[in-house]
């Protein structure tokens, strides 16, 4: 018991940092109803800036901390004014912050190098302040000060919101920006202040937390986002004091859980705890009745048009013939690249199905790919024939997706994005480090047999046959999605997006329709993951990590999340991005991976800003494969 108390108290300072970052999320959400996923990345950027200034440039620590915090404030202001304000709909805005997450992560990697172990700026002395002998607990000056600072800032902020005129304006703007504007509130300035304040808090928490961690790297602090999300959700995205209690509580519970699970030598238990908290908080969250969906762009209100059957057949026929010809002429490396195009197209297709048809935003398709990849590898280990193993991988991912979909049924799109991002983070630190699944730190080997009587997987012919196999799978998947979309299930799914109550009144179970959409999308992602593992003959966690999930979503959005041709276009873009810089998962060279990440993030932001329909949307409007329809007036909910 005494041990647990000591563990819990020892976790308090870290909890205070979770709280500080969560405050940033809450302050921003309170005023602009946008969920910021970029807080962890802002904190990480600030920590690097502080470290660079104070250690490399020998700037006094006070100035370094101040500069780092102001950097955060600046990022917040730029983010809001240039990339959030012009974008419509809170889901799209939230996805913009995902773009910032990977862009900042990449940028820091490019500027400061991706290497771990960069020393953190020492803000406070780490001398022991006091010890509690009976608990074997020692508190450093830094730990104690961090704790005091977090609580002090919260009280100050809470007072600010309640008593200052700007704070009151912020609450009014949060409640109804249009009404507040009509009353003469400076809505622009208020939101801008909130973003500056929120990102400043995240920056400060990033600077302060790094001395408590072993070293500074581009991942750890970004993964902190999940802790901040959990704390913010405990505060129900409104209450500052509750948020701090949530952060501190999380900090106290995690070391206890970690210790309790010690015998199994699991890693990533902190994230697992946070994930559980996030899921419980989301599902238990009281619905306000006000839906934050926001239509247009990413989640079009009406669902996606499907190309007419003859056009689809013509398109897929062309792809097949082109693939056949290219497979005959090119070199082995070329065949591998082509196989990658087909695989990434499959992955993007799963997002097209989920977002374009089911109308949900998932930030964890990478996890389903991982389930498929590792599942197929394990199946092959157990003697399942390779082709069957690929399908089995897909089926496992479908089951996983249905499992994720179950709580998702209660969630609004924005909340689902939170849940799935948390899942992706937890997969990075827990699932992909779990030995029974991943075998060893390099990954799980997967044996690929000869195809079509052609021997030798490393021989040119072997790669060519594999490319053809994946191509056929892709074409079949495209047909399946189009067929589903235009069939009975698709009718129900499309109807759901306009009115769930009217769909239910037609005799369709809303729960079952959504779940089936989730499972189908999971299957496609899992199949893609299995094919990817098969191509490389190894399944690795890196290939399916959070950055992958986000960039898949990013490229799906870039290519146009609404259409099947968009999926193939997305596959081409993903492959091009990995080719021009080197694949992040294979080439561990930090700079190129960082560059991909930066570019992906920036492109995602730019597309949401300037062409929310994506490239396929732009070209689709030009070709008009299906007559454009008049805009539909918004249909009100049930009277």
């Amino acid at each position: 018991m005494r041990l647990y108390v000591a563990l819990a108290l020892g976790g308090l300072p870290l909890g205070a940092m979770y709280a500080l970052q969560a405050l940033g999320i809450v302050v921003i959400y309170k005023t602009s109803r946008v969920f910021t996923f970029a807080t962890g990345a802002v904190g990480m950027l600030a920590a690097y800036v502080a470290s660079w200034l104070s250690i490399t440039q020998h700037v006094p620590i006070v100035i370094a901390v101040l500069a780092a915090t102001l950097t955060g404030v600046g990022v917040g202001i730029v983010m809001e004014s240039l990339t959030i304000r012009p974008v419509r709909g809170s889901v799209n805005r939230t996805v913009v912050t995902l773009g910032w997450l990977i862009a900042l992560q990449g940028l820091v990697g490019m500027l400061f190098g991706n290497t771990t172990g960069r020393p953190a700026a020492k803000v406070f002395s780490s001398d022991t302040l006091f010890t509690v002998d009976s608990l074997h607990l020692a508190y450093g000056v830094d730990q104690a000060l961090v704790l005091v600072l977090a609580v002090g800032l919260t009280l100050g902020l809470a007072g600010f919101f309640r008593y200052s005129s700007l704070g009151t304006a912020m609450r009014a703007v949060a409640d109804d920006p249009e009404a507040a504007g009509l009353l003469g509130m400076p809505v622009r300035r208020v939101t801008l202040t909130a973003w500056g304040l929120g990102c400043g808090l995240s920056a400060l928490s990033g600077v302060l937390v790094t001395p408590l961690l072993s070293s500074l790297d581009t991942l750890t602090l970004v993964v902190f986002t999940i802790q901040a999300l959990a704390a913010a959700l405990i505060g129900r995205l409104r209450s500052l004091p509750l948020t701090v209690v949530g952060g501190l509580g999380l900090g106290m519970v995690q070391p206890v859980v970690r210790h309790a699970l010690d015998p199994w030598s699991l890693s990533g238990t902190n994230e697992l705890v946070a994930l559980v908290v996030v899921l419980i908080a989301l599902v238990a969250r009281r619905r306000t009745g006000r839906s934050d969906t926001g239509s247009g762009g990413l989640v079009p209100a009406t669902g996606v048009p499907t190309p007419a059957p003859h056009l689809l057949a013509a398109g897929l026929g062309t792809v097949l013939v082109l693939g056949l010809v290219l497979g005959l002429v090119g070199s082995t490396t070329f065949h591998i690249d082509l196989a990658l195009v087909a695989i990434w197209s499959l992955a993007v297709l799963s997002i097209v199905l989920l977002t374009g048809v089911v109308g949900q935003v998932s930030v964890c398709q990478g996890v389903f790919m991982g389930v498929g990849g590792f599942g197929a590898a394990i199946a092959v280990d157990h003697g399942v024939p390779f082709l069957l193993a690929l399908l089995l991988g897909g089926a496992l991912a479908a089951a996983a997706a249905a499992l994720v979909g179950l709580p998702a049924l209660r969630l609004e799109p924005l909340e689902l994005a939170i849940a799935t991002l948390s899942l992706a983070f937890a997969a990075d630190t827990f699932l992909y480090k779990w030995t029974p699944l991943v075998s060893d730190s390099r990954g799980r080997q997967i044996e690929r047999p000869a195809f079509a009587g052609i021997d030798g997987t490393h021989q040119p012919a072997g790669q060519r046959a594999y490319f053809w196999l994946v191509l056929v799978l892709l074409v079949l998947a495209c047909i399946a999605v189009a067929s589903l979309r235009r069939g009975r299930t698709g009718a129900a799914l499309t109807a759901l997006r306009s009115s769930e109550s009217a769909t239910a009144a037609m005799g369709f179970s809303v729960v079952s329709a959504k779940l089936r959409g989730f499972a189908m999308a999971g299957f496609l992602a899992g199949l893609a993951g299995a094919c990817y593992a098969g191509l490389n003959q190894i399944a690795t966690g890196n290939a399916f990590d959070t950055t992958r999930s986000i960039s898949l979503l990013a490229y799906a959005v870039v290519a146009g999340v609404g259409s099947i041709p968009g999926a193939v276009l997305g596959g081409v873009i993903v492959t091009l991005s990995t080719l021009s810089f080197g694949d992040s998962s294979e080439v561990a060279s930090g700079f190129s991976a960082s560059a991909i990440s930066t570019v992906t993030g920036m492109v995602l932001i730019a597309v949401l800003r300037f062409a929310p329909d994506g490239l396929a949307g732009v070209s689709g409007r030009a070709i008009r494969w299906r007559p454009a329809r008049a805009a539909t007036p918004a249909l009100a909910e049930v009277s």
Binding site: A480, G487, R488, R629, A630, T632
Partner: protein
């Protein structure tokens, strides 16, 4: 004659406000029952309790004598309940035919797997739903609009699409929530004729929430008057009209 739909002592409480307080009514097979009352009387809430969109705080809903209070909307539809909405809820981005086909699928069988794998059952389901939907659309006189985008229809035609959608479900009880609101007198007259024809042809019972006495009087066999969440009176349309002392205020307030 047994009641095909029966409400027993239904209460719906929002916080400390009783939106519906002890409402009982029954609809017999083939009977048309009107539910009238001023705005805020609790008609639509009662209606939503019947169709399953609103959980009652107390009371039971019986369909053919079977307790369906806890049964979700979709399953009630399969038990023979169909409804239209006060604010038209057509599916956006779909044509008129596609809208009605969603209802047409109520009697078809094709799962996710057969839909994605293009199995024969998928095509069969589509053909059946299409046939059924076309039949219902021509019944309500919209056969010429099948390929029009549902979102572009004026409210009169949109209400007819909703009606076709409901008919497509082969209802034994048809729930109509203010079917005449937003219609001009000419359209209202056509609607009354159409509803009379539906009743004669299909023999389904109807529960009708309506403000327009021009719809209620000729159609209904029985009228229930609600105010402040309670049943104020019930009787034949003539009785209700003559019961001036009690009801003048309400009919006066609602007659438009």
């Amino acid at each position: 004659m047994a009641a095909v739909l029966e409400l027993r002592d239904i209460g719906v409480r929002f916080g400390s406000f009783d939106a519906v307080d002890g409402v009982s009514l029954s609809v017999h097979a083939g009977e048309v029952v009107g539910l009238i009352g001023p705005n805020g009387a609790g008609k639509t809430v009662t209606f939503n309790v019947v169709s399953g969109l609103q959980k009652p705080t107390r009371g039971t809903v019986l369909l053919d004598g079977r307790d369906v209070t806890g049964v979700p909307t979709a399953s009630r539809t399969r038990l023979g309940l169909a409804r239209t909405f006060q604010v038209v809820q057509l599916f956006a981005g779909m044509t008129v035919l596609e809208n009605v086909m969603v209802a047409g699928h109520r009697f078809t069988r094709s799962g996710t797997l057969s839909d994605s794998l293009w199995l024969p059952s998928r095509g069969r389901a589509l053909r059946e739903a299409r046939e059924r939907a076309l039949g219902c659309l021509s019944y309500v006189g919209l056969a010429h609009l099948v390929d029009v985008d549902a979102g572009s229809l004026p409210v009169g035609q949109a209400r007819l699409v909703e009606l076709a959608r409901a008919l497509c479900l082969k209802p034994r009880v048809l729930l109509l929530d203010e079917p005449a609101s937003g219609l001009d007198p000419g359209e209202t007259g056509e609607l009354v004729t159409l509803l009379g024809r539906i009743r004669a042809d299909l023999g389904c019972a109807m529960l009708l929430v309506e403000h327009d006495m021009g719809v209620v009087m000729p159609l209904c066999d029985h009228v229930v008057v609600m105010n402040f969440g309670q049943v104020l009176g019930a009787g034949s349309p003539a009785e209700i009209r003559d019961d001036a002392d009690v009801l003048e205020a309400y009919l006066g307030a609602v007659a438009e």
